[in-house]
Symmetry: C2
Amino acid sequence: MDPRIEEHAQILLDWSTDVRSGDDVVIAAGAEARELIVALHRELGSRGANPTTLYTSGEATRAHLRAHDDEFTLPEHILALYEACDVAIHVRSDSNLAALNDVPGKRLAERSRVHKPIIEERLSKRWCLTQHPTNAHAQAADLPLGAYRDFVYGAILRDWDAVEEYQAELRQRLEEASTVRVVAGETDIRMSVEGMHAINSAGRHNMPSGEVFTAPVPDSVEGTVLFDKPLIHQGREMEGVRLRFEDGEVIESSAERNEEALDDLLDTDAGARRLGELGIGTNREIDRFTKNMLFDEKMGETVHLALGRAYDANVGEGREGNDSAVHVDMILDTSAGRIEFDGEVIQEGGRFVWE
Amino acid sequence: MDPRIEEHAQILLDWSTDVRSGDDVVIAAGAEARELIVALHRELGSRGANPTTLYTSGEATRAHLRAHDDEFTLPEHILALYEACDVAIHVRSDSNLAALNDVPGKRLAERSRVHKPIIEERLSKRWCLTQHPTNAHAQAADLPLGAYRDFVYGAILRDWDAVEEYQAELRQRLEEASTVRVVAGETDIRMSVEGMHAINSAGRHNMPSGEVFTAPVPDSVEGTVLFDKPLIHQGREMEGVRLRFEDGEVIESSAERNEEALDDLLDTDAGARRLGELGIGTNREIDRFTKNMLFDEKMGETVHLALGRAYDANVGEGREGNDSAVHVDMILDTSAGRIEFDGEVIQEGGRFVWE
């Protein structure tokens, strides 16, 4: 076995989820994550913890959903499993990223709605989302599997304690800032983050991680932004997305490719035209866009903005975050731009001023 | 997909577990059962039921158990999953039947003891144990995979309603009988089944099935039996096992191969020297021994006797069944012998007298 798989398992159990003796652990993974599943079992055994593994399969989910034309009911047994567990580890390890592409979107959305209590239960535990390298993900990244493995483990096998410390300065400044401005190429956008909480994301819930993020005050966003990385929503890929905000709302929008998909996204609900997240990526081991948001939004020298729902943890007391059924991250390159907090430059040409 | 896989899924959901809309279903299966998992998801979708699949892997279990040198604790999350489910389908689909061969037997036994409430919970639901053909099982059967598939589906894809009806006569006679005698070659063994319940096993809990079975009165077994099929216990294979019973207890034993393993088995506890089951196989599609008890004990023109624990369902009110930590089935060929109930021949040369 590639020794990096064993290291990955150790990081997940020690740093991300702090597994102790007697813990009941749910692993959700595809069959292609076989080696990581074995490594996790070994490491869980040596810690005296109890694993069970849910087999995730796009092919099986597709077969179920296409045949299911009845109303959905909540799977009480899966809810009970998560209620009774201590730790939940979800491993992305798809065999085909297009596996659900012929399932009607409405059915997917309806199932998501009915399964919401399961997701919420899972997120109330010590939980982590991670990646096992498969050919499907490698292909989406335009990489051979061996090179993709190097990319994945480069981003994951880090000293996360040091990352957390490195990001502490950024988190502190973002927490104290009232306004944020991002200038890069055609982009010039400003927003208030007054009273919102900045979070230092260093591998507890996402592995890899490497970002500091907060929620904008919904009505405060002003300016224009050009997202220079492709953007994927419900399997539809958009490019060259331009948005102009006034009083927090998108009042002009265009895309160089698949503008229709952008219009559909913006029309989801009122909150889909407003921002729910501002994140600043710091993981410089992630040096390329791989069409996988678990990695893309953590990329060093980028900023991401999400249309839609804000995370509760970002929204300060007495404040209101944006609400929506969607949360779609969009990424822009700041390596030739700058980020300002309260008029003070904190990142220029991709470097933080304190680096 | 081989259309027999879809048929197999339909039989499991319609005949074996009677799945209805809204049912919460646990499938436990290995990655090699991929196609059956997909077929079950499709059929569960069309019935409006909710599947979740537990990934079973000898390789992962081995890694966990070898690393686990602490005391075992009950995995409460797996127990909660089974408590909350309606239907449990367990699919044998191993990649390597020797996967656990270097795990200390004591550790396996200790884990089984701690996990007992999970097994009991599962057996309290609508449950079924079945088989997906894999190379590992084919190899154990001395067959190429294609021929093994034909064997498996030949045994499974049957009119189970007709099998149940066919076995009803045998069940009725065994239920009413006081004594059973089996004579075949060197074997001549007698026992009382007075007050015990005979069960017509026609594919509700085992798929394939095809047997009628009961429990002997523990102290009543007398005579000698030669088991002419190999016998496997905890991965150890014995051949030519001869047992002599007096007052229900084994008082002489020998094996042509691996007598040591037989001695270990008999020394497990007091109940391991007494019989817990008498079964009569009727499935003539199972025409060969494949070292898989799910099939072997159902073979037409055979009788099996189990050393160890009796099933509660066989033990009549006010009666006592045999108790033990083990239940080890041993098979003998009756195609050239006879079976008598209360002195009356009911099977001779492999044919029931009413056939």
